[in-house]
Symmetry: C2
Subunit: 109 residues, 2 copies
Protein backbone atom coordinates (compact mmCIF):
# COMPACT_ATOMS: atom_id res chain seq x y z
CA UNK A 1 0.00 0.00 0.00
CA UNK A 2 1.24 3.42 -0.92
CA UNK A 3 -0.06 6.94 -0.44
CA UNK A 4 0.50 9.40 -3.25
CA UNK A 5 1.46 11.89 -0.54
CA UNK A 6 4.40 9.71 0.48
CA UNK A 7 5.84 9.37 -3.01
CA UNK A 8 8.47 11.69 -4.42
CA UNK A 9 7.19 14.07 -7.08
CA UNK A 10 9.20 14.38 -10.25
CA UNK A 11 8.93 17.69 -12.10
CA UNK A 12 8.58 16.64 -15.72
CA UNK A 13 8.49 20.14 -17.15
CA UNK A 14 7.98 23.39 -15.24
CA UNK A 15 4.67 23.26 -13.39
CA UNK A 16 3.96 19.60 -14.12
CA UNK A 17 4.68 16.97 -11.50
CA UNK A 18 4.22 13.24 -11.51
CA UNK A 19 4.32 10.40 -9.01
CA UNK A 20 4.43 6.78 -10.08
CA UNK A 21 3.39 3.41 -8.70
CA UNK A 22 4.78 0.47 -10.63
CA UNK A 23 3.34 -2.98 -11.06
CA UNK A 24 5.03 -5.61 -13.15
CA UNK A 25 2.87 -5.07 -16.21
CA UNK A 26 1.75 -1.47 -15.81
CA UNK A 27 2.42 1.82 -14.07
CA UNK A 28 -0.13 4.15 -12.50
CA UNK A 29 0.98 7.77 -12.62
CA UNK A 30 -0.57 10.72 -10.81
CA UNK A 31 -0.04 13.97 -12.68
CA UNK A 32 -0.50 17.45 -11.29
CA UNK A 33 -0.48 20.38 -13.70
CA UNK A 34 -0.28 23.97 -12.48
CA UNK A 35 -2.53 26.48 -14.23
CA UNK A 36 -0.88 27.64 -17.44
CA UNK A 37 1.43 24.66 -17.73
CA UNK A 38 2.20 22.96 -21.01
CA UNK A 39 3.33 19.38 -21.64
CA UNK A 40 5.14 19.47 -24.99
CA UNK A 41 4.18 16.98 -27.67
CA UNK A 42 6.07 13.75 -27.15
CA UNK A 43 5.60 10.02 -27.67
CA UNK A 44 6.34 6.87 -25.72
CA UNK A 45 5.85 3.24 -26.56
CA UNK A 46 3.47 2.59 -23.66
CA UNK A 47 -0.28 2.72 -24.15
CA UNK A 48 -1.80 5.41 -21.92
CA UNK A 49 -5.26 5.72 -20.42
CA UNK A 50 -5.77 9.14 -18.83
CA UNK A 51 -8.59 9.86 -16.38
CA UNK A 52 -9.11 13.46 -15.32
CA UNK A 53 -9.92 13.91 -11.64
CA UNK A 54 -10.08 17.71 -11.46
CA UNK A 55 -9.54 20.72 -13.69
CA UNK A 56 -9.70 20.94 -17.46
CA UNK A 57 -6.99 19.99 -19.92
CA UNK A 58 -6.67 20.10 -23.69
CA UNK A 59 -4.82 17.23 -25.29
CA UNK A 60 -3.38 17.14 -28.75
CA UNK A 61 -3.31 13.47 -29.75
CA UNK A 62 -2.06 12.43 -33.14
CA UNK A 63 -2.80 15.91 -34.48
CA UNK A 64 -6.34 16.06 -33.09
CA UNK A 65 -7.51 18.16 -30.17
CA UNK A 66 -9.66 16.91 -27.33
CA UNK A 67 -10.58 18.67 -24.13
CA UNK A 68 -11.13 16.65 -20.97
CA UNK A 69 -12.68 17.61 -17.68
CA UNK A 70 -13.44 15.75 -14.45
CA UNK A 71 -14.88 12.31 -15.09
CA UNK A 72 -13.56 12.09 -18.64
CA UNK A 73 -11.13 9.50 -19.96
CA UNK A 74 -8.98 9.12 -23.07
CA UNK A 75 -7.03 6.20 -24.49
CA UNK A 76 -3.78 7.17 -26.22
CA UNK A 77 -2.29 4.28 -28.19
CA UNK A 78 1.38 3.50 -27.70
CA UNK A 79 3.67 5.51 -29.94
CA UNK A 80 1.13 8.26 -30.64
CA UNK A 81 2.47 11.81 -30.35
CA UNK A 82 0.56 13.76 -27.71
CA UNK A 83 0.84 16.91 -25.65
CA UNK A 84 -1.35 18.81 -23.21
CA UNK A 85 -2.14 22.30 -21.99
CA UNK A 86 -4.15 23.32 -18.95
CA UNK A 87 -7.42 25.12 -19.74
CA UNK A 88 -8.56 27.85 -17.38
CA UNK A 89 -7.29 28.84 -13.96
CA UNK A 90 -7.67 25.56 -12.11
CA UNK A 91 -4.85 23.07 -11.55
CA UNK A 92 -5.38 19.68 -13.18
CA UNK A 93 -5.05 16.27 -11.57
CA UNK A 94 -5.08 13.13 -13.66
CA UNK A 95 -4.36 9.46 -13.17
CA UNK A 96 -2.61 7.84 -16.11
CA UNK A 97 -2.40 4.09 -16.50
CA UNK A 98 0.52 3.01 -18.68
CA UNK A 99 1.18 -0.43 -20.05
CA UNK A 100 3.65 -1.98 -20.30
CA UNK A 101 5.21 -0.67 -17.11
CA UNK A 102 7.06 2.53 -17.82
CA UNK A 103 10.78 2.19 -18.09
CA UNK A 104 12.81 4.51 -15.93
CA UNK A 105 14.20 6.91 -18.47
CA UNK A 106 14.52 10.51 -19.49
CA UNK A 107 12.36 12.97 -17.58
CA UNK A 108 10.30 13.67 -20.69
CA UNK A 109 10.02 10.24 -22.20
CA UNK B 1 -12.70 10.42 -25.34
CA UNK B 2 -15.23 8.94 -22.98
CA UNK B 3 -17.06 10.20 -19.93
CA UNK B 4 -17.64 7.76 -17.09
CA UNK B 5 -21.16 9.19 -16.92
CA UNK B 6 -21.87 7.96 -20.44
CA UNK B 7 -20.76 4.39 -19.84
CA UNK B 8 -23.09 1.61 -18.76
CA UNK B 9 -22.64 0.50 -15.16
CA UNK B 10 -22.42 -3.20 -14.48
CA UNK B 11 -23.56 -4.36 -11.06
CA UNK B 12 -20.90 -6.85 -10.04
CA UNK B 13 -22.47 -7.81 -6.73
CA UNK B 14 -25.26 -6.00 -4.91
CA UNK B 15 -24.20 -2.40 -4.22
CA UNK B 16 -21.03 -2.53 -6.30
CA UNK B 17 -20.97 -1.09 -9.79
CA UNK B 18 -18.23 -0.84 -12.35
CA UNK B 19 -17.63 0.92 -15.64
CA UNK B 20 -14.76 -0.01 -17.92
CA UNK B 21 -12.63 1.68 -20.55
CA UNK B 22 -10.50 -0.73 -22.56
CA UNK B 23 -7.21 -0.13 -24.25
CA UNK B 24 -5.40 -2.85 -26.12
CA UNK B 25 -3.03 -3.69 -23.28
CA UNK B 26 -5.00 -2.61 -20.22
CA UNK B 27 -8.40 -1.71 -18.86
CA UNK B 28 -9.27 1.18 -16.58
CA UNK B 29 -12.24 0.39 -14.35
CA UNK B 30 -14.20 2.83 -12.19
CA UNK B 31 -15.74 1.11 -9.17
CA UNK B 32 -18.47 2.52 -6.97
CA UNK B 33 -19.24 0.72 -3.71
CA UNK B 34 -22.32 1.55 -1.67
CA UNK B 35 -21.86 1.78 2.09
CA UNK B 36 -22.00 -1.70 3.58
CA UNK B 37 -21.19 -3.50 0.35
CA UNK B 38 -18.86 -6.48 0.17
CA UNK B 39 -16.84 -7.74 -2.78
CA UNK B 40 -16.28 -11.46 -2.10
CA UNK B 41 -12.77 -12.85 -2.31
CA UNK B 42 -11.95 -13.75 -5.89
CA UNK B 43 -8.98 -13.88 -8.20
CA UNK B 44 -8.27 -12.97 -11.80
CA UNK B 45 -5.16 -13.33 -13.89
CA UNK B 46 -4.79 -9.58 -14.51
CA UNK B 47 -2.53 -7.46 -12.34
CA UNK B 48 -4.54 -4.75 -10.60
CA UNK B 49 -3.52 -1.32 -9.33
CA UNK B 50 -6.28 0.25 -7.24
CA UNK B 51 -6.36 3.96 -6.41
CA UNK B 52 -8.98 5.14 -3.94
CA UNK B 53 -10.61 8.45 -4.86
CA UNK B 54 -13.12 8.73 -2.01
CA UNK B 55 -14.34 6.75 0.97
CA UNK B 56 -12.55 4.05 2.90
CA UNK B 57 -12.26 0.38 1.96
CA UNK B 58 -10.66 -2.64 3.56
CA UNK B 59 -9.01 -5.11 1.23
CA UNK B 60 -8.05 -8.66 2.00
CA UNK B 61 -5.19 -9.49 -0.33
CA UNK B 62 -3.55 -12.87 -0.21
CA UNK B 63 -4.78 -13.34 3.35
CA UNK B 64 -3.54 -9.95 4.59
CA UNK B 65 -5.70 -6.96 5.42
CA UNK B 66 -5.06 -3.42 4.30
CA UNK B 67 -7.28 -0.40 4.62
CA UNK B 68 -7.17 2.30 1.97
CA UNK B 69 -8.54 5.81 1.96
CA UNK B 70 -8.46 8.69 -0.49
CA UNK B 71 -5.06 9.14 -2.10
CA UNK B 72 -3.93 5.59 -1.32
CA UNK B 73 -2.94 2.97 -3.84
CA UNK B 74 -2.37 -0.79 -3.78
CA UNK B 75 -0.85 -3.18 -6.30
CA UNK B 76 -2.49 -6.62 -6.38
CA UNK B 77 -0.45 -9.12 -8.40
CA UNK B 78 -2.25 -11.19 -11.00
CA UNK B 79 -3.79 -14.36 -9.62
CA UNK B 80 -3.82 -13.16 -5.99
CA UNK B 81 -7.08 -13.78 -4.13
CA UNK B 82 -8.57 -10.51 -2.92
CA UNK B 83 -11.82 -9.12 -1.61
CA UNK B 84 -13.05 -5.83 -0.20
CA UNK B 85 -15.50 -4.34 2.24
CA UNK B 86 -16.54 -0.73 2.65
CA UNK B 87 -15.49 0.87 5.93
CA UNK B 88 -17.81 3.44 7.47
CA UNK B 89 -20.87 5.17 6.06
CA UNK B 90 -19.39 6.74 2.98
CA UNK B 91 -19.60 5.27 -0.51
CA UNK B 92 -16.25 4.36 -2.07
CA UNK B 93 -14.97 5.31 -5.50
CA UNK B 94 -11.84 3.72 -6.91
CA UNK B 95 -10.06 3.56 -10.22
CA UNK B 96 -8.53 0.18 -10.98
CA UNK B 97 -5.97 -0.31 -13.72
CA UNK B 98 -5.84 -3.89 -14.97
CA UNK B 99 -3.26 -5.40 -17.27
CA UNK B 100 -3.52 -7.23 -19.52
CA UNK B 101 -6.81 -5.87 -20.76
CA UNK B 102 -9.64 -7.57 -18.94
CA UNK B 103 -11.41 -10.24 -20.90
CA UNK B 104 -15.15 -9.98 -21.12
CA UNK B 105 -16.29 -12.77 -18.86
CA UNK B 106 -18.38 -13.67 -15.87
CA UNK B 107 -19.71 -10.78 -13.81
CA UNK B 108 -17.50 -11.75 -10.90
CA UNK B 109 -14.34 -12.73 -12.68
Amino acid sequence: MTAWASLPAEEVVPGIQRQTVHGERQSLVRYWYAPGSVFPVHAHPEEQITAVLSGRIRFEVGGETLELGPGEVAVIPGGTPHGAIVVGDEAVETLNALSPRRAVGPVVS
